[in-house]
């Protein structure tokens, strides 16, 4: 295609390539990856995602040339039964392209980072052959996410929806034979299953919603569905949106299905970044935004969504303040931030929600990846340490397993890992909502909208924002400032450039990302309006912004009081624990939700399964009913007929018959020689006779 020609007709026909490129990348690496050097495998995978990013840019350009009208690119018919018609069709509109840009853009950076990260990780964990496998799964993840955001009907969206669920299973369980500390264990595999099954529970809601949509709105294709909305009774739409919400809370890790996300960091750090920031968890937010015409007609559903988001935001933030694992803090932070987004789209503030989604993708990817850099730095220090000890003839006998993720082992990394420190700081300020960093603008828009329309949501989110700034402040002080609390932290080393380069780019985005949707301009908001119709955009308020900033600064100040002013010693209890006491323990143990679920649901299900299998199916159905009643009863009947009836009454007649039978039997015995081939032969003869009869009669 000539470039000029493409400019006039648009690059829309290239849309399938956003899925195809990562697909080609994964096939290439699957087939040839084993024989190629790591660098090639990693770069092929990264370029595949990069190519998808380029296509996304071309799509965005074409889209703005035609003023944001949605373009549908149909590849082929998928299934067509009765009134059900589904195509493999790509939808290029401003919403999907915004998601594509974010997924492939951040995804590319994560891939490049992973080349460096996985090079070390597979060696620390002792299985370099898994390098190839990692990039195959990563490309699959991107491909699935692209299907999710670009599909033109609910079912294609669902393909990506479950596809990313699968990929999270594969990647969370990447070290399926280890636990999070690298010891042989089933723990990581369990985390993987947990993620898949929690997602499946959500998917059940999605399925029911799609059945309802098809039954009442007659189609699953977006435009056709949305055109029908006004002809359908409100309770139906409410039911649809609530079932869909179950899908959203599963995928976007909201109450009550959020439990899988904290465990998801069992995967290598780039995976955490990919799952928590750019892909997967944002899918729920995207689904609500995509289904805006449905949610828009039922205020009750909107309120429920907004409340769930706001409560989750605060709830997860309280847990985050009491965690010691650097990634676990970020994981709960993700749940909390997703709560902000879900609350926003629930309130109908789609622009603010999507804005925060993109900003969060920047700074949370940055934070996770820099946390990974910190962990690698500590691991390097640990290896240097144990090496040094061996070199000096030291016998190394510490039984306790070293946890490189534990912030209690860190401290003072600012000077030893300066690049990581500065980018981490940028991410922190963005997440805490300090102006002019990215998160400030997007979070402010959400708070502003909430304050105008949903006061309860506003207060919940403000409290969550306060906590956010606090736990990030705590983290920065514990990790980067003060004295090192472990020898490994003293010997920590900065990461190589292939790791830090993507961090610097992401840091830049976290600092400047806000320009995407500055007050008064609302670039992103207006861009999304092409797809979502006229959006409610609240005008900037100095009062709100100032208030939010003061709250965040105050929280950071508190964190400094507790963790910065006086250094934590190595074995000292957490400063906040001294202050909060039992409440801290509750937060630290995540309100014992996992244990509660295990006691109430999981163990009960196991009991039920065992009961049905052993008692009902085994003892009752199989042993008693079949063997004791049916089989044994038949036996008794036979004996009854044989003994009193047969011996007494029929024997006389039978004796005569028996003689006859014996005579016949002795004739027949020669046929019944026990050789199966003879039986088979007689069967064959029978068949031949029948056929012969047919033919010659």
């Amino acid at each position: 295609m000539l470039f000029s020609e493409a400019m006039s007709t648009g690059f829309f026909n290239l849309a399938p390539l956003v899925v195809l490129f990562p697909g080609i990348g994964l096939l290439f690496n699957m087939v040839f990856g084993g024989r190629l050097p790591e660098k090639v495998v990693g770069w092929v995978a990264s370029l595949a995602v990069g190519a998808a990013f380029v296509i996304s840019i071309l799509l965005a350009v074409s889209l703005s040339a035609i003023h944001g009208h949605a373009e549908i690119v149909s590849v082929t018919e998928w299934m067509s039964i009765g009134s059900l018609h589904l195509d493999w069709a790509f939808r290029v509109d401003t919403l999907s392209v915004a998601m594509m840009l974010m997924v492939s853009g951040v995804g590319t950076l994560i891939h490049i980072y992973a080349i460096g990260y996985m090079h070390e990780d597979v060696r620390f964990k002792g299985d370099p052959t898994r390098f190839q496998r990692f990039f195959v799964f990563m490309n699959l993840f991107i491909a699935m996410m692209m299907i999710l955001v670009s599909g033109d009907n609910y079912l294609m969206l669902f393909v990506g929806w479950e596809g990313v669920g699968l990929c999270s299973f594969l990647l969370i369980g990447f070290w399926y034979d280890l636990d999070i500390l690298g010891r042989p264990s089933l723990e990581n595999a369990k985390a993987a299953n947990k993620a898949f099954i929690a997602n499946r529970i959500g998917d059940f809601g999605f399925l029911i919603a799609s059945f309802l949509i098809f039954t009442y709105l007659g189609s699953l294709q977006f435009d056709l569905v949305f055109a029908e909305v006004e002809h359908v009774a409100q309770p139906v739409i409410l039911t649809i949106t609530l079932f869909m919400l179950l899908g959203v809370v599963g995928k976007s890790a909201q109450i009550p299905l959020f439990v899988w996300l904290p465990d998801a960091m069992a995967g290598p750090t780039p995976v955490s970044a990919l799952i928590h920031a750019a892909t997967m968890v944002t899918a729920g937010v995207y689904l609500v935004a995509r289904s805006a015409p449905l949610y828009g007609t039922v205020p009750a559903a909107q309120e429920i969504v907004a409340l769930i988001g706001a409560v989750t935001a605060l709830f997860a933030a309280t847990i985050a303040v009491a965690q010691y694992d650097i990634k676990r803090v970020l994981a709960y932070s993700t749940i909390s931030q997703l709560g902000f987004m879900v609350a926003a789209v629930g309130m109908g503030a789609y622009a603010a929600g999507m804005f925060h989604l993109v900003m969060h993708a920047f700074f949370k990817a940055l934070l996770f990846l820099s946390a990974g850099s910190v962990i690698l730095g500590i691991e390097r220090g640990y290896h240097a340490m144990s090496h040094g000890k061996k070199g000096h003839g030291f016998h190394h006998t510490d039984d306790e397993v070293f946890n490189p993720n534990d912030m209690r082992n860190m401290g003072g990394l600012k000077d030893r890992m300066p690049v990581t420190f500065w980018v981490y700081l940028a991410g922190t300020l963005a997440l805490a909502g300090i102006p002019p960093f990215a998160g400030f603008w997007s979070k402010d828009e959400i708070l502003l909208d909430a304050s105008l329309h949903y006061p309860v949501v506003y207060w919940l989110l403000t409290a969550a924002a306060f906590m956010t700034a606090f736990y990030m402040g705590r983290q920065v002080w514990l990790v980067f400032f003060g004295k090192s609390r472990h020898e490994a932290a003293e010997k920590a080393e900065e990461s190589p450039r292939i790791i830090t380069a993507p961090l610097v780019i992401l840091a830049g985005l976290s600092v400047l990302g806000g320009v995407l949707n500055l007050p008064h301009f609302h670039t992103l908001g207006h861009w999304l309006e092409y797809t979502l119709g006229e959006l409610r955009i609240s005008e900037f308020s100095w009062l709100m912004a100032g208030q939010a900033t003061l709250i965040a600064l105050f929280a950071i100040f508190l964190a400094w009081l507790l963790y910065g002013r006086r250094e934590q010693a190595a074995n000292e209890p957490d400063a906040l624990k001294k202050l909060l006491g039992p409440a801290f323990v509750v937060f630290e143990h995540m309100y014992w939700i996992d244990e509660g679920y295990a006691a109430v649901f999981i163990n009960r299900y196991k009991d039920l399964a065992r009961f049905l299998a052993e008692v009902i199916d085994g003892r009752f159905w199989h042993d008693w009913l079949h063997d004791s009643v049916l089989a044994a009863g038949f036996g008794k009947l036979a004996r009854f007929l044989a003994d009193p009836v047969d011996l007494g009454l029929i024997d006389g007649i039978a004796n005569g018959l028996a003689d006859l039978t014996q005579w016949v039997a002795s004739r027949l015995r020669r046929f019944q020689n026990g050789f199966v081939r003879s039986y088979a032969l007689s069967v064959l003869l029978g068949v031949v006779l029948i056929l012969g009869y047919l033919l010659f009669r």
Partner: protein, 494 residues
């Protein structure tokens, strides 16, 4: 045309040529028996493709008819009557497709009495193909009962420790159901004056109450075969004891005969009774879906786990068929094919690890993905297909079935499909648990440390199945197109 060269007759009875050849081979020439059976089944598969080539997908009528008057004693009109249409073509292809793969799977697994084994196997193929093609009730009954005999011997001779118990139970259970069907067939033949299925459908006019009795009599035979809950008790026993190839055919084809029976006979012959029975069948189907899935989860024997998962999957098929709308029935037929492919593949995979470890106890494995990476990956794909991951075959079937059942007037309530959809969650639970116990975690048993990954023969067996897992998942259109007109024609009666 020469009788034996009519496509369907040739297709049905071709395996007998292999049987004939085998009879002339000495018992100790085991290789020759294997190759003879394999080549025979491959040619049969080729013949089925030739049939497909002549099949007109645009028509919903019976095609490629092979028909002769057969027995006309005492006014009975029994015909030799084979024909194919959109309801059966895929099942015929599934049968001939699974045969060579199953035979390949016995290559090293069956070492004793190979000749007899292959003879029974090929005879089984004749019976199964005949069941799917017969259009005369009497002929159908003969093929139906005939399949029992080779399967009985396959389980009873080449099975596991409790093979005799399992074989007898299998035989008696199925027989018990068939007796009622035979009575119903005789009633139809005598009172309606013909045994020809199209003839009976054209004539119609069976009064409502009698329809119900006849429906139930046929259903007795078919429901045991499917098996529908609570008549499933024979299935786990039969599967656990049967040799791998037997399980593949049992799950892949024999169970489908039950569901196919409902589709071919109950629905068109007794439409009023079918509508009345629909909610009841749907209820049993849903119980089966959930019960099978929950009981699967508690199993310690992999094969038993897969066997119970069949109860769950066949529940989906039945739910779809009795939705009595295009989505439900087409989904149901496709799901029969899907189940044949996915569960067939699962049994093959279980057989492969059994050959290496001589155990199927879930607790005996752990961490196999590391030792046998290819085996692990392929098992994962098949497991995902079985639990209905979108993009793979199982999803297309389950989704269309649930969609059909959800909006079905005959079933009449959202609850059935809604509860059935819970089965989708439960399927993930038992399949992922199985995968976790076998393949994930550290390799902590010494016996597992030196296992060899799949060999070329095993890869060759699995690849065709995987092709269909992806093909049907991504582009099911050709499969739906084959059945659409016939289903439409069937639904005219409702």
């Amino acid at each position: 045309m020469n009788f034996f060269l009519e496509p369907l007759t040739l297709l049905t009875f071709f395996p007998l040529l292999g049987v004939l050849a085998l009879l002339f081979l000495k018992p100790e020439w085991r290789s020759a028996h294997r190759w003879t059976a394999l080549v025979t089944s491959l040619i049969t598969f080729g013949l089925s493709l030739w049939v497909l080539d002549q099949f007109n997908a645009a028509s919903g009528d019976l095609q490629l008819i092979s028909r002769r008057p057969w027995i006309s004693v005492a006014g009975w009109d029994i015909q030799y009557y084979l024909a194919v249409d959109g309801l059966s073509i895929l099942l015929v292809l599934l049968t001939t497709f699974l045969m060579p793969l199953s035979i390949l799977s016995t290559w090293t697994a069956v070492e004793e009495r190979v000749k007899d084994f292959m003879i029974f196997f090929l005879l089984l193929e004749v019976g199964m193909t005949g069941v799917f093609l017969a259009q005369d009730l009497f002929l159908f009954y003969i093929f139906w009962e005939f399949t029992l005999i080779p399967m009985y011997f396959l389980i009873g001779i080449w099975g596991g420790a409790r093979r005799i118990y399992a074989a007898v139970k299998f035989f008696l259970y199925t027989m018990a159901g068939s007796v009622l069907m035979l009575l119903a067939i005789l009633w139809l033949g005598v009172y309606q004056g013909t045994f020809s299925l199209p003839g009976l459908i054209d004539r119609g006019g069976i009064p409502g109450d009698i329809q119900m009795w006849l429906f139930l009599a046929f259903a007795a035979a078919f429901a045991i075969k499917v098996p529908m809950w609570p008549l499933h008790s024979w299935l786990p026993d039969a599967h656990v004891e049967a040799p791998t190839s037997g399980s593949v055919i049992l799950a892949g084809v024999l169970l489908k005969m039950g569901a196919y029976g409902f589709l071919r006979f109950n629905l068109p012959l007794f439409p009023e009774a079918s509508v009345r029975a629909a909610p009841w069948v749907a209820a049993l189907a849903v119980v089966g879906i959930l019960y099978g899935a929950i009981v699967s989860f508690a199993q310690k024997d992999v094969k038993k786990l897969v066997a119970y998962s069949s109860v769950s999957h066949l529940g989906f098929v039945m739910l779809g068929l009795f939705a009595l709308n295009p989505q439900g029935i087409q989904g149901g037929i496709l799901q029969m094919v899907n189940h044949g492919i996915s569960t067939g593949a699962l049994f093959l995979l279980v057989g492969m690890i059994y050959e290496r470890r001589h155990t199927r106890d879930l607790e005996a494995f752990g961490g196999l993905w590391k030792v046998m990476p290819l085996y692990g990956t392929l098992t994962l794909i098949v497991a995902l297909s079985s639990m209905g991951l979108p993009g793979l075959n199982g999803f297309v079937g389950e989704f269309t079935i649930l969609l059909g059942a959800f909006g079905s007037q005959a079933i009449g309530s959202y609850w059935f499909a809604g509860l059935a959809a819970v089965g989708v969650i439960l399927a993930a639970v038992y399949m992922l648990t199985m995968f976790q116990k076998m393949f994930l975690g550290p390799v902590d048993k010494d016996e597992n440390k030196k296992l060899l990954d799949l060999n070329w023969r095993e890869i060759l067996i699995l690849v065709p199945l995987l092709v269909f897992i992806f093909w049907i998942g991504l582009y099911p259109k050709p499969f739906f197109d084959l059945m659409a007109p016939a289903v439409e024609k069937l639904l005219v009666g409702f």
